[in-house]
Amino acid sequence: MIEVDVRLKVGVFSLDVAFANGVGVTALFGQSGAGKSLTLNIIAGLLKPDAGYVRLNGEALVDVERGVFVPVSRRRIGLVFQDSNLFPHLSVKQNLLYGRWFAPRGDRRIDFDAVVETLGIANLVSRSPTRLSGGEKQRVAIGRALLSCPRLLLLDEPLAALDVERKLEILPLIERVRDEFDVPIIYVSHAVEEVVRLASCVVIIDGGRVKSVGDPAEAFNRFAYASAANRFDRSSVLTATVEETSVAHGLTKLRHSAGTIWIAGSAGNSGSPARVIVKATDVVLSLVPPQEISARSVLGGKVANIQFEGPIATIEIELKDDGRLLATITRGALEDLALKIGSPVYALFKTAALDERSIGMANA
């Protein structure tokens, strides 16, 4: 259980965040400069807050009012940086075992072979970290933090420095780490896909303040408008249930209370929950149930809010029974359809526009 409630002023920027979460992955989400990394540094002990506290399983790591400050080296919190920061003078194996040596003997519960196997780095152990690729370095860095048997693992945009291919290679590894080793994780990112895929709890930070906390669908939908600076970044997160996988077409049918969502590929067993990210610019609106059209996913709901931005209107649709969906259309289309708050609409989107690689299930 991690509890954070801290305030810090750095120049003109003021940070004031509070959140708490129990198990699984807590994601700190926000644009760069929002204060996520400051928060992470306070938790790790690299920065001292002006006021407030950080508690881990009830023990204060820092509590300004009570004068408590546990130094970094005694917090037993693993930190993985954006660039892996491996020790260049040590071998990969020595890097991996570095923190283990400092962990109290009774707490060395994480097994070297299990970590090496999970992260797929068995063939790297005798190499020098200077001869590894970016993705390999990051895997070793995660292993190194994990093998220090931390009470909490902090991942500070661990994929930001990697290309798309490497990201897709490492994301499932982080999922495995989450599921196989019983270590709570705080994951800092500004990528919705990563957060939706990994996190059970999302803390959205903007301008040094917590804007929204909750499971990914809730947190993102509550903060949808303010979080996106331009329309291409606007998206909604929907929670659905896997209904069936159509082997013939390689598609998976997801059941949402407002309709059906089709995604490419397979997404787990029937009955398991899945989260889908839908970009607002990919959504088409219709007043009648659509027929004879290639878009396969149709959700019904009614208009809850309309925001204008020059010729563009962003419409928030309250889906039937559960969830919200954003749709970006032109002002002209809005007038033609005569949409008003409360109007019933059907929202359509193409299966091909959904990134099935970002669909994941947090084992909450």
């Binding site: 130094p71 080296s73 919190i77 940086f81 260049p88 923190g99």
Partner: protein, 239 residues
């Protein structure tokens, strides 16, 4: 051994051998004795914030900019028989004046700024995030120093030590002022060359010692290059 070399220029006389051996001993002792202090000072200047840091930095570098004779005279006033600390040190059996140990002190002081400079650069070049990584893995600052800073600074430390060693071999002004020029006790290669040039017929000896000095200095430079090159190869290109 030197008898077997037929060329008279390289037949070093016992007095010349004495000066060479003495020089090497003084320079070695001066270098190794100042090494821990040099490392500590360089690390403190590179990584720590403390009151009086600018003053410490100034004092360390003073021998580099002062005339060596002035440094020698200050040492005489501080550690000489009638100096500020000299009499107290003499009571516990430590005497520097007119002893080879005094020459080592003078050489250490003169070489110190060079040593600290090279080491400090090397400490400053270490990525701070490696230290942070070490601390998050449970190593306190002392462990981090020995496991991260020190090994990564080794090339700079060796270069600093070699520079100080070379400086100690060539030191003249401060040494001669502090402990004089006594053959067999404080007469280093430099002092011996100076003495030979002051007497008629001493040119040949001065020449031989000059060649020896050039040889030693050149070896030191080559050694430092090899150390640098090997360290760079081992650590890859930065990380």
């Amino acid at each position: 051994m030197h008898d077997s070399i037929p060329f008279t220029l390289f037949e070093l006389s016992p007095a010349e051998w004495t000066a060479i051996r003495l020089s090497l001993r003084i320079a070695t002792v001066a270098t190794f004795a100042s090494l821990p202090f040099g490392i500590a000072t360089a690390y403190a200047l590179a990584r720590c914030q403390f009151p009086g840091k600018t003053l410490v930095n100034g004092i360390v570098h003073l021998p580099l900019v002062l005339p060596p004779v002035v440094t020698g005279f200050v040492l005489l006033m501080l550690l000489g028989r009638k100096g500020v600390f000299g009499p107290y040190l003499a009571e516990i059996g430590i005497v520097f004046s007119f002893r080879w140990t005094g020459a080592a002190v003078a050489c250490a002081v003169m070489g110190f700024p060079l040593m600290v400079r090279a080491m400090r650069l090397s400490f400053e070049a270490i990525d701070r995030r490696l230290e942070l990584a070490s601390e998050t893995l449970g190593a306190n600052r002392l462990w981090t120093f020995f496991l991260v800073n020190l090994p990564l600074a080794v090339p700079g430390i060796i270069v600093g030590a070699i520079l100080a060693f070379a400086k100690a071999l060539g030191e003249f002004g401060a040494t001669i002022t502090f402990v004089s020029n006594i053959p067999g006790e404080t007469q280093t290669i430099s002092a011996a060359i100076y003495s030979y040039t002051q007497v008629p017929g001493g040119d040949e000896s001065a020449m031989r010692l000059t060649i020896v000095a050039v040889f030693i200095a050149f070896s030191a430079l080559v050694a430092s290059e090899i150390v640098q090159w090997r360290a760079e190869k081992r650590l890859g290109h930065g990380e």
